[in-house]
Amino acid sequence: MAREPAGTAAGGDIRRYLLPDVLARLRGLDLVARLVVEGFVTGLHRSPYHGFSVEFAEYREYTPGDEIKHIDWKVFGRTDRYYVKVYEEETNLQAFLVLDKSASMRLQSPEAPASKLQYATWIAASLAYLMLAQRDSVGLVTFDTEVRDFVPPSQHPSHLKVMLGHLDQMEPGHESDLGAVMHALAEQVRRKGLFIVISDLLDDPEKILFGLRHLRYRRHEVILFQVLDPAERTFPLRDMTKLVALEGEAEEIVDPIAIRKSYLEELERFLDAIRNGCRNTRTDYVLLDTSMPLGIALARYLATRSEVKLR
């Protein structure tokens, strides 16, 4: 597979690196991450996010729990409001990329450009690249039934290499238990941060939402990227098919045409539950499938990031 020269992709439009089927031809997560982000940023000039500044505020409004010694009394004198003077390392966001590496993420249907795990990895890498470029602090959590890797957040540019190294060497795990993982993270990470969860969410929605509420209770911001295979969303199969579970021993011989409608109804019911749960917890929820450009994920992150800054 030929590697495209960085920044000078054939055709001259670097934005095409946002397309998964193009990314699938590239080797090296760092390259993928850089091309995605550069392609995305190039596109911003014509996007609704045009004018978005990467400069961040140095003060933030006081919230209970902040140390009083950090209140900037000069600002209070001018504005009659309490603002906390944020230290350099604290002005940037602390974010965790929470990546589902359970067995179900291995799914790649014949028409899909990449597996769900690969797509999730691309998102994670790209977001890490972007965040570090913004001097945000970013860490990495991978999980299946529990947290498997935990890379503490850092804003040092060299941290990208560490992050990508973990992502590159990541092996799919077993069944997933996102709910439990979110509980664990809520307990483990005390400092308010942004959790970017990238998962297929194929688990009990009640448990997921329960974990989500726990995170939110800890005042963490959460962006939930649900990554599905296009086949999972449309169930396009036609011939009799024996579907073998990626997690567990289950298998089912099905006449896809006969059950498509019911399957899609079940899927929609599940997605509705997730959507509603996210709405109730004021969680950003983004449904992606592996054929969608990665720019959607980046844009959604930036939108959330800006809100996080404003809060």
Partner: protein, 774 residues
């Protein structure tokens, strides 16, 4: 249920294909990893029962679809199913006509055309008709007959009855007249209630089961007959479909014996008899290996090979002798082809010791010497051999008497009575003579100059009611020496004159010269009366230009020889004299030929008609002396029928008895056995009599077939169709007549049902989302 294409029923096995495909697909699937198993499991769980039902329903529809198509291809015919499709507006009125002419007995292969016709008709009734339909059966032989006065209803009982009666039918032994039958069929059609009488009424169908014999339709322009033309026109007007169901052989060659006769008018014991058999070919190739066998009284007498070219008719001559007096029968048999009825022919004849002739010579009473008698030459003509041993060879045994003895004569001892210039007939003689003639006697009356016309006319003419065929008048003599009379005949068809029919023989007939005769006046309407016939006349002539030639005096002359048929007998009247007084007739061969033949002709007239055509009644009149209380008739089929004699009450019949047998529909030899005792305690006397019934030989033996094109030309405008016997069962004569395809054959509704199922399958597959799934 029956299948017309039973061999294709195996296609029904293809109905297993959808099941196999279903099972095959159940075990043939791709394997794919899947993540969202929970949704899948729930979806499958929710739909499992519905999916199973849908699959079974689709499978059943597909199996049924193939079954229906396979069944349709096998063309099932079902009476019950036909009933399902039957409706008031789809009733059928069917007139089935069976050709019963004897050509239908022609056997090709295992079955005869008749058996094929009955089988096809039965198949049609079984498969094509239903409750509410009406049915009539016609038999088309020489005349059309209908089994039922009114069409019967084709319910199960009606069909069973018709089929039963159909199977009991036999073909006739007569020639067919399909053209005439057609008119009868058309006349019958209105008996189907509402048949085409009102708009929307049921149009009847006519199916004629026949061998399509050409002569039955085109014989002597049969279809050009006005009645047939009118019938065809009527059929065309009514829109009645006329279906000819072909039951005959494709190439029916036939050789037949078309005639058998004795050349001798009377068969005499020990005399050589000339028997002539006529055979004919209707084959397209010369015959090969044909043998004609002659049986006399059931004993093989002769066997001769016969070779016939296509279309050739040939007369085969046999010389036979019988040595016992009585009734004998000759049978010729041509062992040839499948039409047996015309391969044999019978002739029954009576051999006699001799013909007993009572010759009443009017001159004897007048004291004439034998050399001057009226009958000297006549006796030489009828009994040419002199007295003595040779006399036994005379067939005619004359007994000469004078007219005075006539009153005492027992007429019943004689076959023929000759009155030669008898002056008058005394007392009861005329009445006895008349009674005797009516019973079958043959009388020859020769006039002469002594005859008393008044007496003859009063006693024998009786204004046309008596014996004579004409009123006797005055003597006519040639007016001068150079004038005379000669015999002239308008035709030589009469058996008496037949020997002179060949042109080279006619001169012999014209040679005798007459100078006198008695003028007679036949009845004015003699031409119309079959019982009186003028056989020949006198033509006036004279010598012309010095006697080297002669010329006619012109005009038709007076009758010379007349015949009257009276009862079972005949009377011949010769208006000139038998002796030499008025002619030189006695010098000529014609004299001997005519009178010898006249006596045998008159004698034969008394014999009963023993050779009959099919359907002609046999009649035998017996004197009281031959009465027998016990009579058995044995038919050609071997059936024994007791017969009784009927006493005759007609005038002058005396104690005479008559036996009649009218059921002569079967050709062959019929034997009558008479048993009686002359007196009580005497031994039983047995006597046997025969008569023969032969088919009408001729065109009916010509089995050549008419083609469809010719039929269409002969029946213009008629909705004509010709079908094979196998193609008729269950199928309507036409869609319109049948109301659209109902007849017990199910392929059409089956295909329609299959189409419906196909549509249903498509709809179900779309609805169930299985279009791409087997």
């Amino acid at each position: 249920m029956t299948f017309l294409n039973l061999a294709l029923l195996w296609l029904a096995g293809l109905a297993a294909v959808p099941v196999l495909i279903y099972l095959f697909h159940r075990h043939r699937y791709r394997v794919m990893p899947w993540a969202a198993m929970e949704f899948l499991r729930r979806a499958v769980q929710r739909n499992r029962r519905r999916l199973r039902l849908e699959n079974l329903l689709l499978l059943a529809v597909r199996v049924l679809l193939i079954l229906l198509v396979a069944l349709a291809v096998a063309r099932p015919v079902s009476e019950q199913a036909a009933r399902l499709f039957a409706g008031e507006q789809r009733r059928r009125h069917v007139l089935l006509a069976l050709d019963t002419s004897y050509s239908m007995t022609h056997r090709h292969g295992v079955r005869s055309a008749w058996e094929r016709a009955v089988g096809a008709a039965r198949g049609f009734i079984d498969a094509g008709l239903d409750q509410g339909d009406r049915l009539a059966i016609a038999l088309l032989g020489a005349h059309a007959q209908f089994l039922y006065e009114e069409p019967v209803f084709a319910d199960a009982q009606g069909r069973e009855r018709v089929v039963r009666e159909l199977e009991e039918l036999e073909p006739s032994a007569t020639a067919g007249d399909l053209a005439g039958g057609l008119a009868a069929l058309v006349e019958y059609l209105p008996r189907f209630q509402g048949a085409a009488a009102a708009p929307g009424g049921v149009i009847p169908e006519v199916l004629v089961f026949t061998d399509l014999q050409r002569t039955a339709l085109v014989r002597e322009g049969a279809l050009a007959d006005p009645a047939a033309v009118a019938a065809a026109r009527r059929l065309a007007e009514l829109g009645v479909p006329l279906v000819f169901v072909d039951c005959g052989a494709e190439r029916p060659d036939n050789f037949a014996v078309v005639g058998l006769r004795l050349d001798d008018v009377v068969a005499a014991v020990d005399a050589p008899l000339r028997l002539l058999a006529t055979v004919r070919s209707w084959a397209e190739e010369p015959s090969s290996g044909l043998v004609l066998e002659l049986f006399i009284d059931d004993v093989l007498n002769r066997s001769v090979p016969v070779e016939l070219e296509p279309g050739e008719e040939r007369e085969i001559e046999f010389s036979i002798q019988v040595h016992e007096p009585g009734v004998h029968h000759a049978r010729v048999l041509l062992r040839s082809d499948g039409l047996e009825v015309d391969n044999a022919r019978l002739l029954v004849f009576e051999a006699r010791e001799g013909i007993q002739a009572l010759v009443v010579d009017g001159a004897l009473d007048r004291g004439a010497a034998p050399a001057e008698s009226e009958t000297r030459f006549f006796l030489m003509a009828i009994a040419p051999f002199a007295d003595g041993r040779l006399a036994r060879q005379n067939v005619v045994r004359p007994h000469v008497i004078g007219e005075a003895e006539l009153a005492e004569a027992d007429l019943d001892r004689y076959d023929v009575v000759v009155l030669a210039d008898v002056i008058a007939l005394p007392g009861e003689v005329p009445a006895r003579l008349e009674s005797w003639v009516r019973r079958g006697g043959g009388l020859l009356v020769a006039l002469g100059d002594q005859v008393e016309p008044g007496v003859y006319n009063e006693r024998l003419w009786r204004d046309g009611e008596g014996l004579l065929p004409a009123r006797v008048g005055e003597v006519v003599l040639a007016p001068g020496e150079e004038t005379f009379f000669k015999l002239r005949a308008e035709s030589f068809r009469h058996p008496l004159l037949a020997p002179f029919a060949p042109r080279e023989m006619r001169q012999l007939f014209y040679e005798p010269v007459f100078v006198g005769y008695r003028r007679v006046e036949p009845p004015a309407d003699a031409g119309q009366r079959a019982e009186v016939e003028v056989l020949c006349r006198f033509e006036g002539r004279r010598l012309a230009s010095g006697g080297a030639a002669e010329e006619s005096l012109g005009g038709l002359g007076d009758p010379a020889l007349l015949e009257r048929r009276l009862g079972r007998g005949r009377v011949l009247l010769f208006t000139s004299a038998l002796d030499a007084s008025w002619s030189d007739f006695f010098k000529h061969i014609a004299y001997y030929g005519i009178w010898d033949r006249a006596v045998t002709y008159l004698a034969a007239a008394a014999a009963p008609a023993r050779n009959l055509g099919v359907g002609e009644p046999f009649e035998l009149v017996l004197p009281a002396t031959a009465y027998a209380p016990e009579i058995v008739l044995v038919t050609p089929a071997g059936d024994r029928i007791d017969k009784t004699l009927e006493r005759l009450q007609s005038e002058g019949a005396g104690d005479r008895f008559r036996l009649v047998h009218a059921e002569t529909g079967v050709p062959g030899l019929y034997t009558l056995r008479f048993r009686r005792r002359a007196r009580e305690g005497a031994a039983v006397e047995e006597r046997t009599e025969h008569f023969a019934v032969n088919v009408e030989a001729g065109e009916e033996s010509d089995l050549r077939r008419i083609d469809v094109g010719e039929l269409e030309r002969l029946l213009p405008g008629v909705r004509l169709e010709v079908r094979g016997e196998r193609a008729v069962a269950g199928t309507p004569a036409s869609a319109e007549a049948a109301g659209g395809g109902r007849s017990g054959e199910l392929w059409r509704p089956l295909l329609l049902a299959a189409l419906g199922l196909l549509a249903l399958e498509s709809w179900l597959a779309c609805r169930f989302g299985r279009r791409a799934v087997a």
